[in-house]
Structure formats: structure tokens, C-alpha cells
């Protein structure tokens, strides 16, 4: 089964990358852009058929490795979950 982890910087944490992209978009004529934040998206293929258990395991992976909880928030999406 697949799991998707979306990782974003916490709101108050500076996102220099987002700022630079936002500037460039404006320079390229996309004046309507008011804010850009950049995060990661990690796609996991996992040998597990139970969506609930999958979610639980992935949450553990996030806490131990995937996300830096000091500065990042994460959310988990399990496409097969209804």
C-alpha cells in the first residue's frame, strides 16, 4: 500500500526558500502570488494491507526519522483509506 507524508515548516519558522521563490514568481509577472511555502512530499511503498495499521506505522516513521519535529509539521495521507 502507498502512504504519502506531507512535511511542512511550522508556521512561525522562516522559509527562506519560499521567500526566494515568491520573489522570482513576482519578477516573472505572477504578481498575484502573495506567499509561498515549500515542503516535502515523501511517497512510501509499504508492505502492509491494513490502512489503520499502516497509518500508525507511518506516524512512527515520521516521529523517528522522516520529519524534524522541532521545525516541521507532518500529515499522512493513505490513498486507499476511505
Amino acid at each position: 500500500m502507498q502512504a504519502i507524508v506531507n512535511i511542512s515548516l511550522k508556521d512561525a519558522v522562516l522559509d527562506p526558500q519560499g521567500r526566494a521563490i515568491s520573489h522570482s514568481l513576482t519578477d516573472l509577472g505572477f504578481n498575484e502570488v502573495t506567499d509561498v511555502r515549500v515542503g516535502k512530499q515523501i511517497l512510501l511503498e509499504i508492505d502492509e494491507n491494513d490502512p489503520a495499521r499502516l497509518r500508525q506505522r507511518v506516524a512512527r516513521m515520521c516521529e523517528t526519522l522522516l520529519s524534524n519535529t522541532v521545525i516541521e509539521d507532518y500529515s499522512i495521507v493513505i490513498p486507499d483509506e476511505e
Binding site: P16, Q17, A20, I21, S24, D27, L28, V38
Partner: protein
């Protein structure tokens, strides 16, 4: 023409940090100080060689070379290349050239996932006619430093075959006395530098401007640059 008649322009982006080093290197070889051109300029004075230097243009944010590739000056550089003008991109300059499609391929994260700064051995390859390689002895092994995070050259297999067939591969990583693997970043086919189909645009990861004298530990960068400049002057 003499070397001192060569007009060399070095493009400066916010975050470029090898612009001065390259200016000093070119001046050492030609006795003429190249022009530094700020990225916000929309046009470029006539130049015999445009150099896009190393560094972290726009902080390498989004993708290295991506934001610089869309800077106003790049339209002028693209026009210059379209007219057959010579362009050389070093390190971040190489990344900018791939981002704008001036040379094929993409530079992705080093296979070791770490910034790598060290000397590498470079093999000069047989290429199609190009001012950047015509003066170099192909059997020669050059020792020149690298310093990058994203130097892992990638292209689809078909494209790689085409590059090989066309003679567009200018330099390959090869053994040197330095400690560590010969290929420092996982680059496909050990590619360290490629040239465009017309031979007028070169992108390479190693920094010749850091191998300009015995005090640097190598003069191979001076040799490489000098031969290119001589070819462009003749």
C-alpha cells in the same frame, strides 16, 4: 586576435561566489579584466566568451540554477548563444545552463547526499569541434577541484548514447591520487562536463579557476582555460 583583445563577460547573480575568482583567473591569463555583468541587466555587450560562474545563485533555492535561469540577463545570454557565441558555465553555472536547456541533461544531488570539496582527476575526451576542447591533449589527466552538492549528471539512456555518439562529453572523472572514488557524485558515464551540439557552450562541474598556480596545488585549471581562450582568439 591577441588574448588581451578577448572580451570576456562574467555574469553575476545574487549568491554567485566564484565570480571574482574567475575574473582573477581570466585576467591572469589575458591581462585584461573581464566585465562583470549584474543579473538584472537586460542586455549584454558584445562578448567573445560569456562565463557563468560558480556559487549558490539565489541560494540554490527550489532547484540549483532554477531561479537564476529565469533572471533577465539570461535572455541576453540565450540570444548570444543562439548567434553562436561561446558560453562556459562552471559548477552552478553548469546547473544554470542545464536549467535553461543550453546544454543537455540535469545535475541532481550527489549520490553520497553530501557536499563534496576535493581534487578530482579529469580525463579530456574526444569531442566534436569545440573551442573548449580543441587545444587540449586528449590523453592528459587534469587535476582540478570540485565543490558541489548537486553534480550528479543525469540524462535518459537514449540521450546519453546520443551524447557519446556526438562527442559532446568534454570531461570525465577519472582516477587521481586523491583519496575517494574517482567519480565523486555518481554522475552518469562519469560525466564531469558536456558541450552543446554546436560545440559553443560548455558546462562543467570542476573549478578551473581554483587550479591556477603551484600554490593552488595544480596549474591544470590555467591550462584548460588558456587553451579555450586561445582557441576563441584564433
Amino acid at each position: 586576435m591577441t588574448l588581451s583583445a578577448l572580451r570576456v563577460a562574467i555574469i553575476v547573480f545574487p549568491g554567485s561566489n566564484c565570480d571574482r575568482d574567475m575574473m582573477v583567473a581570466i585576467e591572469q591569463l589575458t591581462s585584461r579584466r573581464p566585465a562583470l555583468v549584474w543579473h538584472k541587466e537586460a542586455s549584454l555587450d558584445a562578448a567573445d566568451l560569456v562565463i557563468i560562474p560558480g556559487g549558490f545563485s539565489f541560494g540554490d533555492y527550489l532547484r540549483c540554477g532554477a531561479l537564476a535561469g529565469r533572471s533577465p540577463i539570461m535572455n541576453a545570454v540565450l540570444d548570444h548563444a543562439a548567434r553562436g557565441g561561446a558560453v562556459m558555465g562552471i559548477c552552478n553555472g553548469f546547473q544554470i545552463l542545464t536549467e535553461t536547456g543550453m546544454v543537455p541533461g540535469v545535475l541532481i544531488r550527489n549520490a553520497g547526499l553530501k557536499f563534496a570539496c576535493r581534487n578530482v582527476g579529469l580525463q579530456v575526451c574526444e569531442t566534436l569541434a569545440s573551442p573548449f576542447t580543441s587545444g587540449l591533449v586528449t590523453s592528459k589527466r587534469l587535476i582540478i577541484p570540485i565543490a558541489h552538492n548537486e553534480g550528479n549528471y543525469f540524462a535518459e539512456p537514449d540521450e546519453l548514447n546520443q551524447l557519446e555518439g556526438n562527442g559532446q562529453i568534454a570531461f570525465r572523472y577519472t582516477d587521481s591520487k586523491a583519496i575517494g572514488p574517482a567519480n565523486p557524485n555518481g554522475a552518469a558515464h562519469d560525466i564531469a562536463g558536456v558541450i552543446s551540439q554546436n560545440g559553443r557552450v560548455l558546462g562543467m562541474m570542476p573549478h578551473p579557476e581554483r587550479a591556477m598556480s603551484d600554490l593552488h596545488g595544480s596549474t591544470d585549471g590555467a591550462y584548460l582555460l588558456l587553451k579555450s581562450l586561445e582557441a576563441l582568439a584564433s
